[in-house]
Amino acid sequence: MSNKSPSSGTPAPEGTRKQGSQIIVDTLAEQGVDVMFGYLGGVVLPLFDKIYDSPIKFIIPRHEQGGCHMADAYARASGKPGVIIATSGPGATNLVTGLATAMMDSVPIVAITGQVRTDLIGNDAFQEADTTGITRPVTKHNVIIKDIKDLQKTIREAFYIATSGRPGPVLIDIPVDMQIAETEVVPPSKIKLPGYKVRTKGHARQIAVAAEAINASSKPVVYAGGGIIISNASNELRAFAEKAHLPVTTTFLGLGAFDQSKPESLDMLGMHGSAYANYAVQESDLLIAIGSRFEDRVTGKLKTFAPHAKIIHIDIDPASISKNVHVDIPVVGDAKTILTDLIEAVEYRQRDEWFALIAKWKKNHPFNYDRKADIVKPQYVIEELCRLTKGEAIITTGVGQHQMWSAQFYKYNHPRQFISSGGLGTMGFGLPAAIGAQVAMPDATVVDIDGDSSFNMTLTELSTAVQYELPIKIVLINNGYMGMVRQWQELFYGHRYSCSSLQNPDFAVLAEAFGAKGISVDKKENVTSALEEMLAAKGPCLVDFHVEREENVWPMVAAGKSLHEMDGLDIFESMA
């Protein structure tokens, strides 16, 4: 990749005419983009010809889906929007999974797709797909450019829409003739979108009512979600919990928003959450939801969710309020702004009885597994990784059992430290996500804790990591199964393991073939040394841990059960 001309990115004098492709690259630079991800194709050639001269760093994945996940994780790790470019037709359709992943988890992405010439649209031309039609439900907004004069304004609007309010992916479909045509460069001006209003400041009266309820509560619980991290409100959350003296549980995507080493931390709640978080929510008299959306994996059976609690819901998306549960005190706005106001209005309360009960639950029902087993336990691998990285690594994951163990046994103290596909549950997210996170945070230790099945889906991106010398680490929890579906088949389908086992390659050898380092571990006594060797490796390194094949994730709130009706607690007790 050549970085010849420093000229692009500097504002052109008014009245200057430029090609659409040059305007795209210049406007991206103007929006602060310093790295983007993408894959070539016929109708984006004019754009890539301008990228050739651009100072913006470019990462080429091996598949557009991988590129989209990289842009996603880049955004989650850095807080800046990720940019992905793909060609028309299959290039664009390959983005769909990545866009849906980002949409569900509210991640800002600007996706630029090429399209066939405007006069060919609708003719079933070569590599034509109705990209805006296909991506409409998986983007916050999408637009096709049919008039070159709209191009620059639309790109600026896309960045604004993607990053403001509840963030999300925005796609701009740009026909190839729009990239070639020339138009006048326009200077940035205030963005006017009559249908798009973002409310950041919370309603003062609602905040006062919420504070009153908090001050009056004897059994409150804060239920904090990914919105805290998106809003950069972790410090405010911590100050709020400290000032009012509140226990805090986070959602899966909220991990890192609150310091898990604190006694007030209840860790994660929900289907595979901690017993103490789930008990606390069910017993609470006040649930303070912030930047979370009462998803079914969090609530269990809705009818009996937090049955004694009054509910405060702080969220920037009005449509999230009272969508799943009835909310008593809604406060619409940005978590950081509202928490700042709320901190002023809340008072410290001792709540000895409540905290004593919580301490008892924490002591009696910690996350656990059979620590005496001779075989490699997946939980042990993750605990060791946490110990060796001092809980400071950026962790990405695929989807399934290993993902839940990564949430349970690695302890997160910082926001943007845990990067995983929560809402959509996209297998194959882990490796490209690690690459995107490493691009965003070149000096951080980035570890993809992955499952063998998830890893199989996108492992081709190993060559991307090697090409760009990104020293990501991969901890492969290899049980030769699609572990989570196998667990469900065991529990709910009478051990009938239909189509859920895989024949895998030798992953360590495969890693070496890609030019990365590969290590294979099947003995417990080698776990620590292998992790140490991995962490000491200069470049990308994979450790293939052959773990207990039929280990289950506990506790578990089965579908249709209430949050306090957890299976597996007896198993914990027998191990204590």
Partner: protein, 163 residues
């Protein structure tokens, strides 16, 4: 229960697709949808009749408002509104029945807009109940075709005299 929702949207390509796609994706039950330009050429008005309880309708309203191209959403529930549907209906009208049909047309304050040897086309405008009732009344003669706009509506202000 039927709710009338009125949305002011940007008059741009893709806006209808955004709204219609959202309704389908979120499994909202739409009874009718009418779209037309307003006095401002940059804006269109969508009138949507939604079937559902208050909770569903609140979600429809919020999800619509969330679309970037949707400028303003109103739910007319509990408001005094003028709601109208326009229908074109072609009914079989043999000579011996024609007078009967014309009387019916007059009773409904409707209008015959096309006549041919075997049938007439009638234009009916009014609240939904009137339209439905006219359809029922025509069934005995044989309805050949029906086209309806779907409901459009506007709230009365408290000061307006009812006409």
């Amino acid at each position: 229960m039927k709710h009338l929702i009125s949305a002011l949207v940007q008059n741009k390509p893709g806006v209808l697709a955004h709204a219609a796609g959202m309704f389908a994706a979120r499994a909202f039950n739409i009874d009718s949808l009418a779209v037309g330009r307003t006095d401002d050429p940059t804006l269109s008005r969508m009138t949507i009749v939604v079937i559902g309880d208050d909770k569903v309708v609140e979600q429809v309203r919020k999800q619509l408002a969330k679309l970037v191209t949707v400028v303003k959403v109103q739910d007319f529930v509990g408001q005094d509104v003028v709601a109208r549907d326009l229908m074109l209906l072609r009914v079989t009208a043999p000579v011996e029945k024609r007078l009967e049909i014309l009387t019916l047309v007059e009773l409904y304050n409707a209008k015959v807009v096309d006549i041919c040897a075997k049938s007439v086309m009638v234009e009916v405008c009014g609240p939904e109940a009137k339209i439905e009732s006219f359809i029922d009344s025509c069934r005995q003669y044989g309805i050949k075709s029906v086209v309806r706009t779907g409901t459009i509506a506007m709230p009365r202000t408290s000061k307006t005299v009812k006409v």
